[in-house]
């Protein structure tokens, strides 16, 4: 065992990379849940985003187009969920599950001819002087653009929910859809938009895994990250900045266990690989005592009786 081989600067830099897919998916789902909708299909939308982004990037040679395609694919899949729950009034839990099962199959089908290919590289940004600083440079100024986009998105969502009119309407719909409807807000339209936003974010998160973090395509490669993102929203008490904190925490756990595996710690690899999931459970237990911040209409369908 050689722990000195672990470089703390690289550790933090790779922690941020590991956290970004989680953060993107969690921020999207946070907005969806703020609107009162529980979409359990995050895992399915992520994996479809992962392959759609990967395939588009490979075919077009541009990772940027890949990310756009991933967001579109995620949003398209989420529309299916919206049709089921908002129009057909189907149970949200069952619909979300079906989205995940369908997405896993669809991605496997789409990805058959892309196994073992290397995608085009998304370069890291390079700011003269700043990026070359020791320690601070690689951590703060040496990442790809999507990572910064994730942080900016967190800030934007925080601002939107807290200060904008749109955020207020969104929260009203999530807290009490009947009251929001009585005030003349289009509950279904707002929820549809929120669901599509969540789908696009999940798609981006998935593409981040297949294009930057791994970067490769393998079946089922999201390996539960979508579900951890769902747990993260609970962890964050539906607050964007806490989602960022949580994503970095989980990213940290993932990266540390991978580093420990590489360093050859005496703990068997399988037990290290379990750790992110076990820690998710423990965190859920600690935080589930307080449910006061959950949107009041979460998971309930809305049907205007007249």
């Amino acid at each position: 065992m050689d722990l000195s081989a672990i470089n703390p600067v690289l550790l933090i830099a790779s922690l941020m990379v590991a956290a970004t897919p989680l953060l993107l998916a969690a921020i999207g789902e946070l907005v969806v849940e703020k609107a009162g909708v529980l979409n359990l299909g995050v895992e399915g939308m992520m994996i479809v985003g992962a392959i759609a982004g990967f395939a588009t990037a490979v075919e077009s040679g541009s990772p940027f187009f890949g990310f756009i395609a991933a967001a579109i694919a995620g949003a398209a899949l989420s529309i299916l969920f919206a049709i089921l729950t908002q129009f057909a009034q189907a149970n949200q839990v069952a619909s979300g599950l079906s989205l995940t099962l369908f997405g896993l199959g669809l991605s496997a089908l789409m990805g058959q001819s892309y196994v073992g290919i290397k995608p085009p590289q998304m370069g890291d940004i390079h700011i003269p002087v700043l990026s070359d600083l020791p320690v601070v440079g690689p951590i703060l100024f040496g990442h790809d653009i999507i990572l910064y986009f994730g942080i900016a998105l967190t800030a934007a969502v925080w601002w939107m929910l807290k200060y904008s009119r749109l955020g207020l309407v969104l929260r009203a719909v999530g807290e009490n859809h009947d009251a929001a409807h009585a005030l003349g807000y289009k509950v279904l339209k707002i929820r549809l938009l929120a669901i599509m936003f969540g789908g696009a974010c999940a798609g981006l998160g998935g593409a981040y895994i297949s294009l930057i973090r791994v970067p490769q395509w393998t079946e089922g490669m999201t390996a539960g990250i979508g579900w951890i993102a769902l747990a993260l929203v609970v962890f964050a008490s539906w607050k964007p900045w806490r989602a960022l904190l949580g994503a970095y925490l989980f990213g940290g756990v993932t990266v540390v266990q991978l580093n420990l595996q590489a360093a050859g710690v005496a703990i068997p690899v399988e037990y290290l690989a379990m750790s992110p999931y076990l820690i998710t459970i423990i965190v859920l237990v600690i935080l589930s005592a307080d449910k006061s911040s959950a949107p009041a209409s979460l998971g309930r369908n809305f049907h205007a009786s007249r």
Binding site: L80, F87, A90, A94, S98, L101, F102, G105, M274, I281
Partner: protein
Amino acid sequence: MIRLEKRPQPSRAWSMATPLVAVIATMIVGGLLFAALGKPPVEAIRTIFWEPLFGEFSFYYRPQLLVKGAPLVLIAIGLSLGFRAGIWNIGAEGQYIMGAIFGAGAGLAFYPSESFLIFPFMVLAGAFGGWIWAMIPAVLKTRFGTNEILVSLMLVYVAEQFLASVSLGLLKNPEGFGFPGSRNLQSWDAAHNAELIAGTGMHWGVVAALIAVIFAYVLLNRHMTGYHIRLTGEAPRAAKFAGVNPTRLVLFCLGTSGALAGLAGLFEVSGPSGQISIDFNVGYGFTAIIVAFLGRLHPVGILLAGGLMALTYIGGDIAQSNLQLPAAAIQVFQGMLLFFLLAFDLLTNFRIAIGKPEVA
């Protein structure tokens, strides 16, 4: 103007008809998908649904129907109890794995004894393995209010890692020339879940699945616990006033579904699959969710839905070898089925009305 009017009561007729409508819709859209993949659509659908039952080699495929259907029905029956009460165990895959590990481990501890007690002991251990794995989300939910959906699902990934660990370590075949995986239980008579009647596919898992169907039917229709389950699902507030104990209900529903999933795992590992290996699980725990919904959470419906889903597995395999239809296409097909079912359920709860609403 077309609008939706909520029915005073869900339509019984539509409730029975939607699974059929969903299957037909899936066949049509699935056919289009196969056509898009460059396969003859009608031929593909025929291969999946007709070939295993009445085709040239149906003598081989028909027994497979029982082999593949039994674990699906066994797991789905357990899940349906919880789903009816709004208790969502979606980690059956993990409970299935743990049942297999516990059951196989309990048996292998006595290798190479030929006692007739070994198989019954393995069955108990398998049920216990699934039960204990499901008790984790159950206890966390009742003690701390933790979301059982997320916990049970996280435990699937934990169970998969544990499976990898035991097939490389604890349960590895000492005479396996270093290959991962346990001893083959098929070649050890005392632990082999053999066919009860040769050539029929009928093994103890099929018997257990049929017993589970009857058990669930009696429970739901003739027993207080079953009544509480239905009451909690259909009218949670009324259930509260009627004095239903939610803690007991959660423990019962998750525990039963875990034990049944564990049994399914045990019967699979000691029979058709034969050994614990890294990729022992094939997703029955997730497909069973589709089976439970397709069967309308009703025991008899689940029996039929399990058969249908087993058919798509077997037909999918045939289509894979005959038409080079990718395996993932069948997965999409199964996912689509649940989509259409949920969508057409609209007609069970709502009536489509044309014209302006009457002014009350």
